[in-house]
Amino acid sequence: MLGAVALEAGTYNVLAHVSGPSLILEFEQLGIGDAGSLDQVYPQVRAFLNSLQASSSIAELNARAARHVRDITGFDRVMIYQFDDQWNGTVVAENRNEALPSYLDLRFPASDIPAQARELYRLNRLRLIPDATYEPVAIVPEMNPATGAPVDLSLSLLRSVSPVHLEYMRNMGTPSSMSISIIDNGRLWGLISCHHSQPKVVPAHVRTACDFVGQMLAMQLSARFRNEEAVQRVGYQAIQSDLLASMAGEPFFIDGLKKNRDGLLRLTEASGAAIVFGGTVSRIGACPDEKDIQRIVAWLSSKADDAEVYATDCLSDHMEGAESFAEMASGLLAVSISQLHASYILWFRPEVIQTVTWGGDPSEKVRHGSDPQRLHPRKSFEQWKETVRLRSLKWTNVQRDVASAFRSTIVSIVMRKAEELAALNQELTRSNKELEAFSYSVSHDLRAPFRHIVGYAEMLKDKYGDQLDAKATRYINVIVESAGSAGKLVDDLLGFSQMGRMTVVPIRVDMNRLVKEVRDVLDTETNGRDIQWHIGDLHSVHGDPGMMRQVMQNLVSNAIKYTRGRDTAQISIDSEETPTETIISIKDNGVGFDMAYVDKLFGVFQRLHRVEDYEGTGIGLANVRRIMERHGGRAWAEGELNKGAAFHIALPRNQGA
């Protein structure tokens, strides 16, 4: 800017710049009061500079810039317009009066400001159209006599603009506009875009002040963005620590995540999340249904480049059929948390259109009588909607990094759990071995003394019996009997502990034959008593034959034992089949038991009768239940005091047989 010169036709502000081989001089007419210096707007510029420090966020910074530019220039509306990665634009801040409508949050497709135009904005930071209704004037001569080519007016202030742009302005009802480029590190970050409902001239010193404001804003934004990223990382770190605490508080880490739903979503600023682990899907927030999530997981794990972190803002571009749930999951950020299974944490973002709010009512009747098909912000908004269809907001680098770090945390938790399980397994094996060693030595060393007591007492009785009186003989008998029953107890206990370790080898067992054999063996126990047997045609079962024999022997022997007092003992054995089980039932009319103690019946060394009435060590039914459990079956009983008892065992039916 060279300054004001007075010519015949009036006062002009003269600007000069070099364009190729030429020096271009521009003469801008000055109105009354237009001449001025930066000093006049300095207080406003300084106020802006001071306010920058006070701005706590980028949004506030933009809002202040818009207000100050409007203060300095007097435009009806000043907007801060920001480009995204694809050069779509958003109005992120606005300051206006009632003369022009609000465009805050309005989106514009990248095509509205094509690459060529953006490049001009980058090179020439300030553009002014005082009156869009101007008549263009041709340069004379058309060709530069020195070069024989048209003069390059790219950097000129007073050059004409494209007719399309002018039409756009007319349709917006803004005959006057000015834009100031916001350049961050050589990249066009955005524009300060000013409009006026009347033609408007902006004096040169004011323009310079605005350019200065624009540059200050750019510097602040760039610093703030870097700072904001650091703040964001710290924030995400805090959320992650919080999630980690939640996971540590639960035996199963997924339960911890489910309890801290909000944290999981905030971690990546997603609106929905899913945890897919060990085939189960846990859904949080707004996400596709389980079937669709399973499809996403199948697709993810089938990808050749099965990376640890996968992120897209347009899943339907990559995965077939993803359009159907684009409303909730256009954007996907996924981390794989297991090498062996298809286990993932998925974060979802909705289609971006779902998240956009435009202050101006999109359905509002178009004013100024413009045809809605013609160039107009409303049309831009519709076009923009098309370009972002099926797309979500982009996942930032920070968010990807956070997801990746979170993945590592979970993987280490999963691995630690696996190690703990392995250690536990080892510990169990060890204690099992110890138990085996224990029962081995019990069987050897505890049985021997009882055997010796019985042996020596018997020898005493045999050799010196004739020298003993009746009392001494009885004492010896009690010794023999007691040591004998203690030995029996040890044997039963050992048998019980072995039962838990023995391998179950199930085959088809003919229960009719088994019951007959068991009855034959136990025949001596009946001592010629009158017992009425009712034995049905029994179903075969699928079980270990040796163990099944023990079970039946126990139950039949019990039935014989507890019907001892009956004049006519009745014992019946029947079977039935359900779709899943074969049930064998043994009923008697013996002394029965009180149902209040039914839980004790199957316990080790639990007795419901006095030992002098009914002998036994109290281990038989414990063995029955244990054998049934080892077969994946059940054992239970019903009874009534002095009315009899019924014992049932159920074995799973072998599906293959």
């Binding site: 081995y440 069987s443 050897h444 060393d445 049985r447 021997a448 009882f450 055997r451 010796h452 019985v454 042996g455 020596y456 007492a457 018997e458 020898m459 023999v480 040591a483 004998g484 030995g487 029996k488 044997d491 050992l494 072995q498 023995m502």
Partner: protein, 157 residues
């Protein structure tokens, strides 16, 4: 008593030894009973080594072998007998305090001829020992059983 082969009883516990001898005594067997108190003694006697070098060759009718023994245990004794060309025909009966499944399996793998868990009741124990004695020392012999006219001879190996 030529042709009547001895019974080798390998037992470390003195009480068990006394009770088993009593049971054998009551069985009225004519066979001599040789006792060994651990695996080493038993093997020395069988293979005529060390203190039994030059012993008159008289293989036992049956070996009653306890499982748990000091120094060389019952399973190792069994293994050496069954791995020896000249000894493997000798009947070996495991007479043990344990009904442990793994011992049973191992013994049969090594070629034991019988496995008997010592019953707690003396009568049952007596019956078992007499049964063993009669079967292996008498039934298994070509010579018919005859009543004994002198006390049972017990030799320590």
């Amino acid at each position: 008593m030529k042709g009547l082969r001895p019974i080798l009883l390998v037992e470390d516990n003195p009480k068990d030894l006394e009770l088993t001898l009593e049971a054998l005594e009551r069985s009225q067997l004519a066979n001599e009973v040789v006792t060994a108190r651990d695996g080493v003694e038993a093997l020395d006697w069988l293979f005529r080594r060390n203190s039994h070098e030059g012993r008159e060759s008289n293989d036992p009718a049956v070996i009653l072998l306890d499982l748990k023994l000091p120094r060389v245990d019952g399973l190792q004794v069994l293994e050496q007998i069954k791995n020896d060309e000249d000894m493997r025909h000798l009947p070996v009966v495991m007479l043990t305090a344990s009904r442990e499944e793994s011992d049973l399996v191992k013994s049969y793998q090594l070629g034991v001829n019988a496995f008997v868990v010592k019953p707690v009741g003396f009568q049952e124990f007596f019956d078992a020992v007499r049964g063993l004695g009669v079967f292996w020392a008498v039934v298994n012999e070509p010579v018919p059983p005859r009543p004994r006219n002198q006390p049972m001879k017990v030799t320590e190996a």
